[in-house]
Point group: C2
DNA sequence: ACCGTTACGTTAACACCGTTTACCGTGAAT
DNA sequence: ATTCACGGTAAACGGTGTTAACGTAACGGT
């Protein structure tokens, strides 16, 4: 370990050397080139990425250990990029309207997924959990999940919807809720309010479920295009979030956004 | 076209000649060999299938037009085989207990999916809908979907749960419901009762969603193993099926089955 | 019973893939 | 100025889907 740079006190910034910056740059270029390939509907391969960068395939092995490692990296990057898109959608609503913010974000999630099915598959339909992955480990590609959790949390603060008591939860749920796998505001909650995490997971299951169903097309094509299945999912979940009164407005908001993006 | 066989009246059975039977046999052997490969966690490739059959890869092109066509065929076969498994699970309940039959079948669906993630992915996380697929076309690999529709229909006949009026449905939903993409008992319903199809689709979305989420592991691993997310989905949907009173019993039934299979 | 046609299988080859090996120039560090 | 790790290359191995050319055996009609 080169303690290299002078004038760097212990714990100071890593002081990236020229080599390191160069390396970091090509690292980023590799991932970015992969994104371009996906966007242009060509298949992602080491040779294709290398060729677009003016390199040869074996050179990439100086940066990634294997093809699947590249895929993991790309999936992480996609998740990040998509998340800023979701966040931007949320920001189209007023800051004091957390329900609208949540609805806009999840609607953007659906729009993005249906417009970028390859990317969606890479991030959300991948064998993310190896059997050897020990339980309780934080999930990868969780930036979007964290965003949705935060937005849901804001709704909770606004409506104060009912949340199950921690002691009433089944054992497995309680231990999972007390030690969340997704980073976010749950960690700051007092233990007796951690039931919120359970509602959050159920909501995520609803959202992921209907979007995956639509993306993979296991539903009537006409229904799919209209987005009514997605809208009905929102409408059905709204009451659990203390938004029974707001449901028509929120569904209209989502419907409008879907219509605008098609 | 050889009108070949003698004594074959018009419209009679195709009277399969020896060649045709032989062809059909190898056709089936190809698919069956593919299933074995999947079951043994080896990757499905034309060469691997051919080798196991004592043939060479190009010979398979006499039967399938391409690799992806083989995959489609295998997916169809998997769906069929899995469906008989789900039906067998349903038959473990009394014939006059349609709610239990439905719950056992969907629980078996989850168990199967988590035990055979490769097969599940092949059938349910595949680009089933090409952009050129015109709307209203019957879905492939719909045997399981049809089974669940039938079971749900039996529940409806028993409990008579509320179903939306056809004229109240959004346009896209109404046209889809009046001309269902999934074969099943909906076709026999009078038009004013076709709202059942909408409930059926919503239920399918719930089931598919939570199972896909669990299979692809985008949820806390401990939660996943316990199956509580799946159970809560059942509990949440039961009231919509007129099974509010029955919910605890049905959830207990599902929980018991999950515990037995792990 | 013969013959032509058709179906079914082979081998060889092409283009692509991930991955490993051996080699080598350049640039940073001592 | 020398050393040496880093970042690149070309060549090669085994694998994939796919096509072309070629043989052979079985069927159908006369």
């Amino acid at each position: 370990m080169p303690a290299s740079a002078p004038h760097s006190g212990p714990g100071a910034a890593p002081e990236p050397t020229r080599r390191e910056k160069q390396r970091e740059a090509t690292y980023a270029e590799i991932v970015e080139t992969s994104l371009v390939l996906l966007r242009e509907n060509e298949d992602l391969s080491l040779r294709a990425v290398a060729q677009r960068m003016g390199m040869t395939a074996p050179a990439l092995y100086r940066y990634v250990g294997s093809y699947s490692e590249l895929v993991d990296l790309v999936a992480l990057r996609i998740d990040q990029a998509a998340t800023v898109r979701f966040a931007a959608a949320a920001d189209e609503a007023a800051p004091d309207d957390p329900a609208a913010r949540l609805v806009l974000a999840v609607t953007e999630f659906r729009t993005w997924a249906m417009g970028s099915p390859r990317e969606f598959s890479l991030v959300f339909a991948h064998p993310v959990a190896e059997p050897g992955c020990r339980p309780g480990e934080p999930l990868t590609a969780a930036a979007s999940a964290e965003l949705f959790t935060v937005l849901l949390h804001d709704v909770w603060r606004a409506t104060g919807f009912a949340v199950p008591a921690v002691e009433d939860l089944p054992d497995a749920v309680r231990t999972a809720v007390l030690d969340p796998a997704i980073p976010g505001p749950q960690h700051l909650l007092p233990e007796h309010e951690r039931g919120f995490g359970w509602v959050s997971m159920q909501g995520w299951a609803q959202l992921y479920g209907v979007v995956a169903l639509e993306v993979f097309g296991h539903v009537d094509a006409r229904l799919l295009a209209s987005g009514e299945l997605f809208l009905s999912t929102i409408a059905r979940f709204a009451p659990d979030l203390g938004l029974a009164e707001d449901a028509p407005r929120l569904v209209a908001l989502a419907r409008e956004r879907i219509a605008a993006s098609s």
